[in-house]
């Protein structure tokens, strides 16, 4: 191996090392667990961090006010429910009975304060077909 090759290898390794370091740092900061309501409530470790929850909007205690940008509802899991207070722009497809994904953190009152909401419509483009088959 000549010295040029070694220099090049070292240079490439330094770049790759920097990228790896940044990626690890970024992952530590920006990772968010994806949980169901049941997983979230059954494990205490998640109560103090930001998580992404997936569940169904219950039709009881459902209120959404697009003008004041708030919605409060119960997020249904398999056997449990969690009160959610959402603040932000209400997505177009949001309504009771929908599957939604919310991101946020549990507040001291035991209410999940969310600031990100996605109406989970895994097949947005195919929903016309769902509609057709449902009718």
């Amino acid at each position: 191996m000549n010295s040029m090759r070694i220099k090049l290898a070292v240079g490439a390794c330094v770049l790759l090392g920097a990228i790896t370091y940044l990626a690890l740092a970024g992952a530590r900061q920006a990772h968010v667990y994806h949980l169901t309501v049941d997983q979230f409530l059954s494990d205490g470790q998640y109560r103090t961090q930001r998580v992404r929850l997936c569940g169904t909007v219950d039709d009881k205690h459902f209120s959404a006010s697009p003008a004041s940008l708030t919605a409060s509802f119960l997020l249904k899991g398999a056997g449990v429910e969690l009160p959610v207070q959402y603040h932000g722009v209400i997505p177009a497809l949001f309504q009771a009975g929908r599957d939604v994904v919310v991101e946020g953190q549990l507040n001291p009152q035991g209410v999940f304060a969310a600031d990100v909401m996605m109406t989970k419509c895994a097949s947005k483009y195919e929903s016309a077909a769902d509609k057709a088959s449902a009718s």
């Binding site: 000549n2 990228i19 990626a23 920006a30 990772h31 667990y33 722009v89 895994a122």
Partner: protein, 685 residues
């Protein structure tokens, strides 16, 4: 009609089978006749797929609801343009589009193959192309048939998803797919050369044109996709690190890396294993991108939902990866380069750095994209990596790449490379300092903004100084206009490439400005009231309802007055489409100039119209992104077209004065190289 489409598809499958068989026979028996059969089978395949596409287009335009696909994605009231765009609104149609584009490009590629090359090489290329075409044709025919008959013919169709009723959606998918499909051609050329055991670098010349072609369309497709997200999704951004967006970025990163390392192979015969691997990876990533969109393995705003098609894609992906790895390992010995790198500071070193950075970014984006799947496999809990993860890596690596663009024009081969670089960087370095200080002095105390301004200024100055120096040298002999044309025409690759770099720099400036200095606030207003926001006075004049072609719309009328008293009226809307009553679709209003975008989104309102929620965002410099898109398109086109002077060969090239010739010789670039090589095999037959 349905049968006609299916028949055309079946014939396409047949043609691809014939092409595979004929090319194999041709390779085995060195038969030129079999090669000819294979070639024409590919042409027949392209014609048949075009015919089936024509059937689908006709059905869509004519509103033939006996096609299940037409009934699912269009309705009578849909404007004509969107009826056409409905072709790629669903799974089946977009796969057909992929296949059609691939087949047409393959046909062009096989008829422009270098006739001098060994039969086995051409045969292997054609076989590769026909296998990929066959995969898509079979997939469409058996798993995603757009010609399926409606169970019962409805009076009217379901209509097109409102999100897709946007001009950018008419153009974005075909352009993106043209990029995806385009990367199959260089992959096939590489497979041909490797299977035939070529030891020279002739084949890489032909791949260059195709890679640039695919790169151009992929890039424009990505930019248009960003534009669509910006105006249609209504959250004020153009890039969210969504899995499907990432899917298009992955092959872009490796394709870009290849365009650079290709030059090292052309000039110096090195990086040959690496280049072959990059082509294979880029091709696999294009298929992977399609797989990600189809399979629904990762939640995304764009995904098509889970389906069986994912399994087919996964199998094909595994085969493609195994084949590529096997092929490159098998030919490793022949691919080894004979020469050694000259220096870290020279062009080789910089190209190596560019490759390491781009590949590293690709790996990071890839890991981030599939992380929810990997983490579920290993820990049982799915974990998403948010935008912060990507930004942390991509922002510094991107700026570093722009810094490398700044020293790009200053690089030469040879012993004094470092010295020349040091002397040439004086002016760009001064420009960097001036720009950085200026941005700081204007009150933008943000490290990213200052760094970006400095690096971008250096990159632009370096390119301009280099260009001006060459132009001035020529102007001593020629009129300025002629000098300009001849200079660019004399080295399309160099000046086209520089222009692409300038486009990317503009995009980077726009992205930095809009992500660092964006302000976002949501207001509740009553009609007649005003509020202050980021230097604007926003007044809600009224809110009213009206009727569009196939939708009911609620429109707010907002006057925005800036600090200088200039005012514009913006009308953000929310539409409810007749066929999609359960969802409202936001149509944002953007007041934009070169400094900033004022982006208004009608977020909601009370039933009586007293209380209206308006989300206002000021995004600085967004227009620079779209401008950059145009600039790099022009640059890439310059790289793609052949030299004008070589077309009009009759006019003899004027003798340059000694001073000019010296200048011209100093410039690194493929001038000499080009003349030694026969042109790429792909220029018109």
């Amino acid at each position: 009609m349905n049968t006609l489409g299916e028949m055309a598809l079946s014939f396409a499958v047949l043609a691809s089978a014939v092409a595979i068989l004929a090319s194999m026979i041709s390779a085995r028996f060195q038969s030129a006749r079999a090669l000819c059969v294979a070639r024409w089978s590919i042409a027949a395949l392209a014609v048949m797929l075009c015919a089936s596409a024509a059937v689908l287009f006709t059905a869509l335009l004519g509103g033939d609801f006996s096609f299940d696909y037409v009934a699912r994605f269009t309705d009578r009231a849909l404007p004509v343009g969107y009826k056409l765009a409905a072709f790629w609104a669903g799974q089946e149609g977009s796969l057909l589009l992929w296949a059609v584009l691939l087949a047409v490009l393959s046909a062009i590629a096989v008829f422009t193959l270098n006739r001098q090359q060994p039969i086995a090489q051409s045969a292997a290329t054609i076989a590769t192309l026909s296998v990929v075409c066959a995969f898509f044709a079979l997939l469409i025919l058996f798993a995603a048939n757009p010609f399926a008959v409606s169970p019962e013919i409805p009076d009217d169709g379901n209509g097109l998803n409102p999100m897709l009723q946007d001009w950018a959606m008419i153009a974005h998918p075909p352009l993106l797919f043209l990029g995806y499909a385009g990367f199959t051609i260089p992959f096939a050329l590489m497979v041909g050369a490797l299977l035939a055991g070529r030891q020279d670098d002739r084949w890489i010349d032909a791949t260059r044109w195709w890679v640039l072609f695919a790169w151009l369309f992929l890039t424009v497709g990505i930019v248009l996709g960003a534009k669509w997200a910006y105006v249609e999704l209504g959250w004020g951004g153009y890039w969210a690190w969504d899995p499907v967006e990432n899917a298009s970025l992955l092959p872009w990163l490796t394709g870009t890396a290849f365009i650079h390392s290709l030059m090292v192979q052309q000039h110096r015969g090195m990086f040959r294993i690496w280049n072959s691997a990059l082509l294979a990876v880029t091709f696999v990533l294009c298929i992977f991108g399609t797989y990600l969109t189809r399979s629904g393995i990762v939640d995304s705003v764009h995904s098509f939902g889970e389906s069986l098609i994912g399994t087919f894609f996964l199998a094909f992906l595994l085969v493609a990866v195994a084949f590529s790895v096997g092929l490159i390992i098998w030919r490793m010995r022949r691919l080894r380069s004979q020469r050694k790198l000259e220096g870290l500071i020279g062009r080789d070193g910089v190209f190596l750095a560019v490759n390491v950075l781009l590949s590293g970014m690709m790996l990071v984006v890839l890991i981030g994209t599939v992380f929810p799947v990997i983490s579920r496999l290993f820990t049982g809990t799915s974990t998403t990596l948010g935008p912060g993860f990507y930004n942390k890596v991509v922002a510094p690596a991107g700026l570093l790449l722009v810094a490398l663009m700044a020293i790009g024009p200053l690089l030469t081969y040879g012993k004094d490379a470092a010295g020349r670089l040091a002397r040439g960087s004086l002016i760009p370095a001064l420009a960097a300092i001036v720009a950085g200080v200026a941005v700081w002095a204007c009150g933008y105390h943000n490290a990213w903004a200052v760094a970006c301004a400095a690096i971008a200024a250096a990159a632009i100055t370096a390119a301009l100084v280099d260009f001006a120096r060459m132009l001035i040298a020529r102007c001593r002999e020629e009129t300025p206009l002629l000098a300009l044309v001849r200079l660019i025409d004399g080295n399309h690759r160099r000046y086209g490439g520089q222009l692409v770099h300038m486009g990317i720099v503009l995009v980077v400036i726009g992205v930095t400005g809009s992500s660092v200095f964006s302000t976002n606030q949501t207001f509740q207003l009553n009609p007649g009231r005003s509020t202050d926001f980021a230097g604007f006075k926003l007044t809600l004049n009224s809110i009213g309802q009206s009727r569009g072609v196939n939708y009911q719309t609620t429109e707010a009328n907002v006057t925005a007055t800036d600090a200088d008293g200039r005012s514009i009226t913006l009308r953000p809307q929310r539409r409810v489409y007749d066929k999609w009553e359960e969802q409202t679709n936001s149509v944002v209003a953007i007041g934009s100039n070169w400094k900033r975008d004022l982006y208004l989104n009608l977020a909601g309102w009370d039933e009586d119209g007293r209380n209206v929620a308006i989300q206002a965002i000021v995004n600085p410099l967004v227009n620079w992104i779209w401008a950059g898109g145009w600039v790099l398109t022009i640059g890439a086109l310059i790289c793609l077209i052949p030299r004008i002077e070589s077309v009009f060969e009759k006019t003899p090239a004027p003798q340059l004065a000694p001073a000019v010739r010296q200048q011209a010789l100093k410039a690194p670039g493929p001038r000499g190289r080009r003349s030694r090589n026969p042109g790429p095999a792909v220029v018109a037959r």
